[in-house]
């Protein structure tokens, strides 16, 4: 009798629990909740932004313990797809959302609101022993297309170039492809999992070249990480280094980092407060500390316009 009743009770418990959960729990499923009520915010997307936004989320929740923020990576494409699928409240993206993606989102009931929360000086890196420290956009394009395959063709040693890049889920991948390569990447490019993976690979590979968000190149004190050299990039004019704080506006590969909100962020909702926090001086301080660049006045105007629409 003992075993039988035990098993019976267990099964009954399971059935009842599942019933209860399925009928009541549904309310908590993300995507059905607008703009994070109960202080819950789901953020997903850009790997470039992952640490920055996690830092921001952490700082915010320290001051607002009732906030429940979840941040995960996967790439800008992942975040935007999740946004379209209605799974998250915010998509981090290091590239601009495409028109078809906006359309897809609208077809499924959400309307992405675009905010710029930081700036990235997308950097090109090579191994610390590599003498090549200046490249034009044109040269970078031909290198990544696979047309230039040897370092000697750009002033370096006679060694074959090893290309490192991101996965196609990455906004950085798309940004670099559209603004630098302007064609398909060479199929020999190694698709790495994230910024850090590229950094580590180039550190170990004397013939490597890669592109990473600037936040990954500096530590908390603003010093460049060892083992790699940052290439100065020219778009026809001077060669500018992304680390040169004085020449931020001239750097050819400066790009805005976006957050797309799935629906109108209503005041009083946690998601609105979090956004305000990110754009505040405290938030932008965290941006700088993470190695990125705070938003420019042009970016601020863009955000203001969005806020005016609310």
């Amino acid at each position: 009798m003992k075993i039988k009743t035990f098993v019976f009770l267990l099964v009954a418990l399971l059935v009842v629990t599942s019933f209860v959960i399925v009928s009541f729990g549904k309310k908590n499923v993300t995507g059905y909740v607008i703009g994070g009520s109960e202080g819950r915010i789901e953020i997903k997307g850009s790997d470039t932004l992952l640490q920055l936004v996690s830092n921001l989320a952490e700082a915010y929740s320290n001051n607002n313990p009732s906030a429940k923020i979840s941040v995960t990576g996967g790439g800008s494409g992942t975040g935007i797809a999740a946004l379209i699928n209605g799974e998250v409240d915010v998509a981090d993206a290091s590239r601009k959302i495409k028109d078809e993606e906006i359309k897809q989102a609208q077809e499924r009931g959400s309307n992405p609101w675009e905010f710029i929360i930081a700036r990235d000086m997308l950097s090109v890196i090579v191994h610390g022993d590599n003498g090549v420290d200046e490249l034009t956009i044109e040269q970078l394009s031909r290198i990544y297309k696979g047309e230039i395959t040897n370092w000697k063709d750009v002033g370096g040693d006679d060694k074959e170039i090893t290309l490192y890049g991101r996965q196609s889920t990455s906004g950085t991948y798309v940004f670099f492809m559209e603004h630098v390569v302007k064609d398909d990447y060479s199929s020999k490019m190694r698709n790495m999992e994230g910024n850090q993976a590229i950094l580590d690979a180039v550190k170990q590979d004397k013939t490597g070249i890669g592109y990473v968000g600037i936040g990954y190149l500096v530590d908390e004190n603003g010093n460049k990480v060892s083992g790699i050299n940052v290439v100065k990039v020219s778009d026809g004019g001077n060669y500018i280094s992304p680390l040169d704080k004085g020449k931020i506006s001239e750097y050819p590969l400066s790009r805005p980092l976006f957050q797309y909100l799935t629906k109108r962020p209503n005041k009083g909702f946690a998601i609105y407060d979090f956004l305000i926090f990110e754009l505040s001086s405290e938030g932008q301080n965290i941006v700088e500390k993470a190695g990125f660049v705070e938003i420019t006045s042009v970016d601020r105007e863009h955000n203001e316009e969005m806020f005016r629409k609310l």
Binding site: I3, K4, V7, L10, V11, L14, I21, G25, K26, N28, V29, T30, G31, E42, K44, D47, L50, Q51, S54, N55, A57, E58, A59, S61, A67, K68, I69, S70, V71, T72, G73, G74, E87, M192, E193, G194, N195, Q196, A197, L199, G215, Y216, D219, V225, I286, K289
Partner: protein, 286 residues
């Protein structure tokens, strides 16, 4: 008597074979040692019990990931153990060798061979999208539960088979019905084996990464999961991100520390089950 050529050949071959076995064992030892030696430095009470701190990872801990993995283990157990044991009982005690039974057995063997990523796809299409559970602890438990089911069934079947037929025959001879025999004779004598074997299967699920990325795991949450519809942190995914995507100079060490915790958890479970089974086996006198 001097060694014949045949005997010499044998000696050499056997030596090679011995070395391959030794080598295989050494692989395990190496892996464990590497993780232990490199990850140990990071382990501390704080590391194990605090929340994850993103800005300075040396300040925080992996407690949410540990919790997430444990919750997942519980979820997978709930999903797969009752169903698995029931199936094993049916197959071992009731089924005849007909088409239906052969189909079930074939399915079980095939399920065991399906790649974990395919389970992830299935979980994504069925639990996350079709049933609209979203990426959550629930979807992850169900998905990994399906994956663990064949293991639970196999382990339970072995346990059931070990119950001597004489026990069952004696019970039936005394007038008990089939179910009464199962309930009072077979199950009590095999339950510990079934449970320990099943938990071994669950421990394997706790080490999986690919499926959970697709159905529920997340890298950073500022809160502890309170409902089965929440996302959760998990040790294998956390470890993966630390190894490939985190920029702190300490990330590597922390990845190894996380790996150490994960291995201790899984092997600890394995070892524990092994001991329990040994103890119980000793008590039995058949």
């Amino acid at each position: 008597m001097a060694e014949t050529k045949e005997e010499k050949k044998q000696r050499i071959y056997f030596l090679i074979f011995k070395f391959s076995t030794l080598f295989s064992v050494l692989i395990l030892a190496f892996v464990l040692l590497y993780v232990f030696l490199n990850g140990f430095g990071v382990i501390s009470f704080k590391f194990l019990t605090s929340m994850w701190s993103h800005q300075n990872i040396t300040e925080g801990g992996i407690f949410p990931a540990i919790l997430g993995t444990l919750l997942l283990g519980i979820g997978v157990s709930i999903v797969s153990i009752p169903v698995g044991i029931a199936t094993a009982i049916y197959l071992n005690e009731y089924s005849k060798n007909n088409f239906f039974t052969r189909m079930i057995k074939l399915s079980i063997r095939n399920l065991a061979g399906v790649p974990s990523i395919v389970y992830g796809l299935f979980g994504l299409a069925f639990f996350v999208s079709f049933l609209k559970f979203g990426t959550s602890l629930l979807a992850a438990s169900l998905t990994l539960g399906c994956m663990t089911l064949p293991w639970v069934i196999t382990a339970s079947e072995e346990s059931l088979k070990a119950v001597p037929n004489s026990f069952k025959e004696a019970s039936l001879a005394l007038g008990a019905t089939k179910w009464q025999t199962i309930e009072k004779v077979v199950i009590p004598n095999s339950l510990s084996g079934m449970l320990t074997g099943s938990i071994l299967g669950v421990s394997r699920a706790m080490g999986e990464t690919a499926p959970i990325i697709m159905v529920g795991a997340t890298f950073f949450i500022s809160y502890m999961p309170t409902s089965i519809f929440d996302k959760f942190m998990a040790l294998p995914y956390h470890l993966f991100i630390l190894a490939t995507q985190h920029s702190s100079p300490f990330a590597r060490e922390y990845a190894l520390g996380t790996a150490l915790v994960l291995i201790v958890l899984i092997f600890g479970l394995n070892f524990g089950m092994f001991i329990i089974r040994y103890r119980i086996r000793k008590k039995k006198d058949w």
